[in-house]
Symmetry: C2
Subunit: 633 residues, 2 copies
Amino acid sequence: MQKYRLDTIPREVARNRLLNAVTFHPRRETVAVIDARGRVTAGPVNARRSMPPHPAAAMDGIALRTKVTRGASPTRPVRLREGRDFTYINTGDPLPENADSVVMIEKVNILEGGWVELVEPALPWKHVRQPGEDVAAGEVVLPAGHRIRPVDQGALLAAGVEQLSVLCPPRVAILPTGSEMVPPGLPLQPGQLREFNSTVLAGFLEECGAVPDCRGVVPDREEALREALVSAADRCDILVVNAGSSAGSKDFTPRVLAEVGEILLHGVAARPGRPVVLAMIGETPVIGLPGYPVSAYLAFDWFVRPLIRHWYRSGAAAPPPLLARLGREVQGGPGAEDFIRMRVAHVNGRYTAFPLARGGGVTMSMVRADAWLRLPPETTRLNAGEQVELEWVRTPAEIERTLVLTGCDDPLLDRIGAMIGRLSPGWSLFREYTGQNEGFDLLRRGGCHAVAIQGDLREEGYSGMIRIRVAEREMGWITAPTAPEPVSGVEDLIRSGLRLINRPPGSATRDRLAQLLDEQVGGRLPSGWERTEGSHWKAAASLAGGTADVTVGPRSAAEAFGLRWRPAWREPLDLVLPRSVAESEGGKALIETLRSRDLREMAAQLGGYDDSRAGEIIDPPFAKNSEGGRWEL
Amino acid sequence: MQKYRLDTIPREVARNRLLNAVTFHPRRETVAVIDARGRVTAGPVNARRSMPPHPAAAMDGIALRTKVTRGASPTRPVRLREGRDFTYINTGDPLPENADSVVMIEKVNILEGGWVELVEPALPWKHVRQPGEDVAAGEVVLPAGHRIRPVDQGALLAAGVEQLSVLCPPRVAILPTGSEMVPPGLPLQPGQLREFNSTVLAGFLEECGAVPDCRGVVPDREEALREALVSAADRCDILVVNAGSSAGSKDFTPRVLAEVGEILLHGVAARPGRPVVLAMIGETPVIGLPGYPVSAYLAFDWFVRPLIRHWYRSGAAAPPPLLARLGREVQGGPGAEDFIRMRVAHVNGRYTAFPLARGGGVTMSMVRADAWLRLPPETTRLNAGEQVELEWVRTPAEIERTLVLTGCDDPLLDRIGAMIGRLSPGWSLFREYTGQNEGFDLLRRGGCHAVAIQGDLREEGYSGMIRIRVAEREMGWITAPTAPEPVSGVEDLIRSGLRLINRPPGSATRDRLAQLLDEQVGGRLPSGWERTEGSHWKAAASLAGGTADVTVGPRSAAEAFGLRWRPAWREPLDLVLPRSVAESEGGKALIETLRSRDLREMAAQLGGYDDSRAGEIIDPPFAKNSEGGRWEL
């Protein structure tokens, strides 16, 4: 294994170096206007015909010569005869020979026998569209480099243009690398990984008007990569290699690129996405993207999109930033920009943004991200409460129809997010496991709409809160197949020495477990006490994967992974939300979901829930030891 | 011809009436994830496999058991041997059996002979991605009703999902009506019109995820329409009829709809787009759109788009409004909403919006529109200077890269807009003919970037202005083929009695003409003195179309339409812009265009221009009778 240093070139400098190295000569082709949506004009397009081609009625009414209406007044109306003095005409119809005005039908007094009466004179060319009023032959309809929209197609056809010259899209090769990578559709052997970045990158390319050319997976041999690069450079306008751009032992992409072409740079001062490599093979630019999905997608934005705009000679079209308040402090590293995935809560008309999990490989975080926050290199920290400009991923309208549910973790709660949009079109739900205390803290600061709570709790100053039952859930000991015996209590746990996955600090389940350990084994802590996973479900996944032996969680999580489960206690699982939220459109959508048949079906399917009071309002919302309390099975 | 009244039902009420009448049962189909971009999930999609499937390295480095590093410190480093104590590992690789930590390569001191040294102990599960860390088997990856993006495809493949159930798109019939309408591609006979609305509507439908089914043109016979409706209702989920919804003599769509189905309403309280008809044929909704393009597109937005969202059970996704200041007062009518096409100037960081021409049939205005302004029914007027919320058509980023050029009218100036984007990618130019005085007024109020001027003029307080030569142009008398003799002066004009097309009040050409009439024919005015067209080019188009006989304009306009032309005078054609604009990115793009070979080629192609000083700075910018003056040929 060798270590080598990446460049730390500012992103802007890197992009300019790339664009300056490239001279594209886009091909052109002639297409029918009816097939031209989304294409980019190769040159200005002029009208071939005037629209309207002839003087035309701009209103439904009668066409006539103005002179026949001379002197008309309410006291001396003028009588006109159809055929001789006027013709009925519809909007858009050509004006008859000699007519020079249209009187709208509302001003025409229709009499018997083909006669009409007017009480005021017509004005010349009134309600008449002149030839070329919309567009005159020879006028410019579209400039060069214009991406054609449906309304442009309409204007072109109206202007007599049936075909036009457009730029051919650039052909972009996508070369996935890695002997362990298997394309979608083929079976996976142990140790192999699904190659999905090509699919994502191909989608991005199609969205920005390029034609992806997905090549087969290139195995980890320098010779194979060399051949693949040279052959793709022959056939394509841009090459995207994924991955092999970082500094691991198999990352020989830079070395091979230096052999068959010329390296422009290796490494930009931006995180994640830093280990990108830019090169030229002859006239063809090559972008070596990092393998981690989020890094790859960012580096695609930084270098591949600008290349495609360069091809079309079009400008960037970034939407206006979303202004939000930071709900939590954000940290970056020194010496480089940081790009941070954010989730955004829209509560009481204010946007509040929170950083998402930052692991570069987390594909789900890209699904969940609402926006990006960029920290410039000189900024390593922004405090909660600061105003920030975000680049949105989901539109503000989507964000405004997203409920944020924090608090305790439960698989059934996760399912609510998958159901709410079906019952209330357009609504979605974002789940974040924060524990109850942080959940209430967020609720107070406008960072969420509702908090999930388990068991009973005392809450001071709860006026204005509503508490709604989701279900009662069965909690218990979940044991992995690695353990000889299932654990069914704290004594078992300590005696066996099995490796625990705990809940994070601040979680009610963790507190409950600590209490049991205090009561039953004198406070001794099991192995793994400090190890936590993101959720009960993920803890069960880790048990199934063999990296730990036991956890405490809901029966549903155990059943999903076929793990052994022994009951510990039952507890209510409720949502708490401010009355103002409950009465809002989103709050109603949430409550409707809790009361739906879908929720009950899902609870039954997961197992371990009693939904007999689902959707009931629990009053008072917080209590000392009321009916909402926790009890042993 | 009969007159009948349209309903004036508020748009919101009309839409709800339609949506309440419709119950869709969208079909489902299974598609491969790699083909699923843009499709909408039919139900929640859960992970089939955990990602990562096994504990994996989160960093390049060495994998080991933490216990072998116990006690390591700078003073007492621990030496480890490859194979026995550790394995080199790359990011993403599965952790070897028994390893429980990864030490990043940057912290490994590599020695000779397969030995390494560590100066601090490794922490359990550090730099290890747990199974399911990204997504655990059974977790919800996507909710129901979610439109699939490339990043979603990535997450689905990572989660072991290769196929999924999606909603089939609704099939929407487009029925164009009108015996005079001819589809694109077929030759036009006199009196026939190109049917282009179907192409526009089909593009809109594809953009919002529906499948357009473009039917042939339905001739103006009730029976033909009846048959077309019934047959389309049989095969499609939604019917769009265009047009026949207004109250002209051929507009029997409502009557036929009432026979074969049930009318929900005919007419909404919104302009333009008011004469829409909504109906049901059995279970199938029918939207009768007005024929005027702008009205049709608005009514499409109001009723067809919501139906398609209803099909997918998805929410509206309107972008945030663009906040702008009104640059000119805006008037609406009473009793209904008004939708007004706006152009938006971005000058010195401020958005200023101006209404565009309002003729409903003007397809070019849809090409030129930057945004929509909605006036509620109770608002009939907004004053210049008021703050308004606009719905953008072009993105704010596009608007920010658009130069607005007002002032006098000239065909060569129009061509600049078609060239600027080729020389300066992303930049475009919006031309508005305002005359010079209003142009300067707009310049002062931030409504434009530059003013085109002709001839010489005095301008007080011009400090900070730059004037740049475009060309000298030849102005003269343009005579239509309808006239027996070409006109070559004001005496000719008065003597012949030919019909003039004049320039609008405030135009320098009109003033010049008035002066000549005063000097040579004692101020007598020719026939048509008050008739104007939007531009020299459009005036020439009207002459070619036979609705007038003579105008004064540049040689280029005459030549384009093959009209006779007699010289009158030569004059300089210049641009005036503030120094701050000239030094901005957009100003530089404009000046570069004026100095380009493209401009000279275009001037030569149009004819009637002397470009020998094109791009020169004229100093001083304004003068009494300097070299910039106007003189006879």
